[in-house]
Amino acid sequence: MFNEIVQASLVIIAMLIAALFLIRKYVLLPKSKKASKDCGHDDCGC
């Protein structure tokens, strides 16, 4: 039972982090962030 609760909690936390990351990258940041000139350094967006 304890194992199931821990595992379910870990999945929920991972899911929330993933969702926040994608929202931040594709919804919030494109409005304010300036893309780097160079692909690969910082977040060029790709």
Binding site: N3, E4, V6, Q7, A8, L10, V11, A14, M15, I17, A18, A19, F21, L22, K25, Y26, P30, A35, K37, D38, C39, G40, H41, D43, C44, G45, C46
Partner: protein, 698 residues
């Protein structure tokens, strides 16, 4: 004591400045540290006629007066400070005949300070080798200066230079550029605020402020003047540079002729072959073929190793970790998702290795020159080639690279067509689908798979230039532009530079794509493991009832149960909803989900499929094998067959599957109109082409 004048030797690095200094002074120079910097300046004396002596000061090499480093700033500080004991009576600008265009930028800037400025064109002995001829009287007239054509190697022209320095008072001080043209309103207000100051000097002080903080403000007491923000000043600096190059281009167009057919020497001979109107393209084509063949031949072993390693890792995690949702997420979601993208590291690294070698060797500039001929017929200029070629890495820096195209129409067309070129994000999709649907045989030693990949690159480039042609006809904007490219010397690529490029580009691909794929894998796994309704919750009971009469092994029944659950999970329900739209293209709902997820970034496609196909699977099969085993439930044939595979490849060749590129296009065009046009046109084109191809081939 005889009269003495100060003569400053200024020029870009590697123009032979020190050789000129030695020729003038007869190697009598002394070396002293410049105050406050670690940069050396050399000083010497040159005897001129009638007892006149020239105090020659050899200053550090600089590319322009928009100094960005402290050694470059030494030159600017001296030229702006009339009270300096070394302030020059005459400035002698040393240029290299092979790089005259670039070198003249500094000349025009110093000329505008109204110091008597002499132009020295060095390395005249190289003119014949390069097929260069100069109209010196015309250049002197256009540039308002005196020119000495010299060769320090052959010791010619030095006496003429001494004569010009001796008669420096006859050198016109007329400027090359009307400074106020950079921004009439701003320079008018500047002139009104400081009526007694030279406008260009003021501008230099202000722009140096932008580069170095508060330097020199006090010299001209301009702290009361409300200056522009640093970003605005930088923009004006760029505008100044563009205006100067426009002036230089117009001067060189009439004063300099480069006839490569008359050029001699190894470089010229190589250039003649590599930029030949027939052989140039043949050689480029052969190089491309070799690259794609090598990518396939060399990368197979490391790719198989990575694929197998991730499959084993998934299996091992399931065995050692306590069973449950988080373990399944790790073993069936995250690991296969990441493995699906990391498997392509060897091929991507090899591709960038070849591109880097071609760039380092100087060959890429010849390709740009070669492509200019093709581009012009399709409404683009040679300047569009650079973004199109850099688009093979990523469309984002490629769209930003269009900033050096002055003409708005050409720039807009280039921005709109750049996403057609095959970027590294398309590569994983191409590689996995080619591996599944194209046979492994060879044709004249070249594998079908390598040829298919090359064909896809050519399709990308072809669609870009055909679209450019159509846009050129549709967009009614006047245009006129010139393309000038400086051909670098051929050289053996530096191993260090090549290694840095390969590592950085591969790292960018892995980190950039890896983070998105990781996040999407987690979400997809949760959506694929969650469902509502009886069909999902009682999947095991329903499947066992259904197969009760069939003679199936326990393993087969387990697979059926996993498949049934996936089909009725949240992602399955969503996928089924869009299936009618994509079924005519030969795809099932799982591919549909992968296509939707890859709207974020193309490479997500493979990671998504890897995750979907791994959910509920306990075996140690690789991603490729799982995709190979998939059966189309409607037709009963393998899902990834020749017809659906080609349809999928062409869909990805044309579709605008990159949100980041759309965001950059919006920023660069300052409008949502163009990214939306791009999105709708490219997606519609991709759908129609994929539909026609599948219906024709099935």
């Amino acid at each position: 004591m005889g009269r003495q004048i100060n003569v400053a030797l200024i020029g870009n690095p590697n123009t032979g400045k020190t050789s000129v200094f030695n020729a003038l002074t007869g190697l009598k120079q002394k070396v002293s540290n410049y105050p406050g910097t670690t940069v050396d300046k050399k000083e010497g004396v040159c005897k001129l006629p009638r007892g006149l002596k020239a105090h020659i000061i050899d200053l550090p090499g600089t590319y322009s007066l928009n100094a960005s480093s402290l050694d470059e700033n030494v030159v600017v500080e001296l030229l702006l400070n009339k009270t300096d004991k070394n302030y020059p009576d005459v400035a002698v600008i040393i240029t290299d005949v092979e790089n005259l265009k670039r070198n003249l930028l500094l000349f025009t800037q110093i000329k505008d300070l109204r110091i008597p400025t002499v132009l020295v064109i060095n390395m005249a002995d190289r003119m014949k080798h390069r097929g260069i001829s100069l109209n010196i009287p015309l250049l002197e007239k256009k540039l308002h200066t005196k020119i000495a054509l010299i060769s320090t190697r052959q010791k010619t022209g030095i006496d003429e230079l001494k004569d010009i320095i001796y008669n420096y008072k006859e050198v016109p001080t007329e400027p090359c550029l009307d400074t106020s043209r950079i921004d009439p309103d701003y320079f008018d207000s500047l002139r009104q605020a400081f009526p007694n100051q030279d406008l260009y000097k003021l501008w230099l002080v202000i722009s140096q402020d932008a580069n170095f903080g508060k330097m020199s403000r006090k010299t001209l007491e301009i702290e009361k003047f409300k200056t522009k923000s640093i970003s605005e000043l930088k923009r004006l600096q760029q505008k100044e540079t563009i205006k100067r190059y426009q002036f230089i281009n117009s001067v060189l167009k009439v004063g300099q002729t480069v006839d490569t057919s008359k050029a001699t020497g190894l470089r010229a001979r190589l250039d003649r072959i590599l930029t030949h109107k027939v052989w140039g393209y043949v050689i480029f084509f052969v190089i491309l073929l070799t690259i794609f063949q090598a990518i396939y031949d060399w990368a197979t072993i490391p790719m198989d190793f990575i694929d197998g390693a991730f499959a084993s890792l998934s299996h091992w995690l399931k065995e050692v970790l306590p069973s449950g949702a988080a373990t399944n997420l790790l073993a069936e979601g995250i690991v296969p998702g990441l493995g699906g993208i990391l498997i392509f590291i060897p091929q991507i690294a090899f591709l960038f290795l070849f591109i880097s070698v071609l760039e380092e060797s100087g060959y890429m500039s010849r390709v740009v020159f070669l492509m200019d001929r093709v581009m012009r017929r399709f409404g683009l200029s040679g300047k569009s080639v650079v973004p199109l070629i850099s688009g093979t890495a990523c469309a984002i820096p490629a769209v930003m690279a269009t900033r050096n195209i002055e003409n708005w129409k050409e720039r807009l067309i280039t921005i709109l067509v750049v996403p057609f070129t095959t970027c590294s994000a398309r590569l994983p999709v191409y590689l996995i689908i080619i591996a599944l649907v194209i046979p492994e045989g060879r044709f004249i030693g070249l594998s079908y798979q390598a040829l298919s990949l090359m064909l896809l690159y050519l399709i990308g480039f072809g669609s870009a230039i055909v679209s450019a042609y159509i846009l050129d006809k549709l967009l009614k904007i006047q245009r006129k532009s010139y393309f000038v490219i400086e051909m670098p010397n051929y050289k053996v690529p530096l191993l260090r530079n090549v290694a840095i490029t390969v590592v950085e580009k591969t790292k960018a691909f892995v980190y950039g794509a890896g983070k998105i794929i990781l996040a999407i894998s987690v979400i997809l796994f949760v959506l694929a493991s969650t469902g509502i309704g009886r069909q999902f919750n009682e999947a095991e009971y329903l499947v066992r009832m259904e197969v009760a009469g069939e003679n199936l092994s326990e393993e087969e029944i387990e697979t059926r149960i996993a498949s049934h659950k996936l089909e009725h999970s949240l992602i399955g329900v969503a996928g089924k909803a869009i299936e009618p739209v994509i079924q005519p293209l030969g795809y099932d709902w799982k591919i549909g989900i992968a296509i939707i997820c890859s709207f974020a970034a193309r490479e997500v496609f493979v990671g998504t499929l890897a995750t979907i196909y791994s959910v509920g699977q306990d075996d140690e099969a690789t991603i490729k094998n799982r995709m190979k085993k998939e059966i189309n439930p409607v037709s009963g044939v393998p899902l990834f067959n020749f017809a659906s595979g080609i349809s999928l490849l062409l869909f990805y060749a044309f579709a605008m599957q990159c949100m980041s590129t759309l965001a950059i296009v919006k920023r660069e065009t300052n409008s949502w109109l163009w990214p939306m046009v791009q999105l709708v046109f490219m997606t519609a084109l991709a759908y129609v082409v994929a539909l026609i191809v599948y219906q024709f081939l099935k």
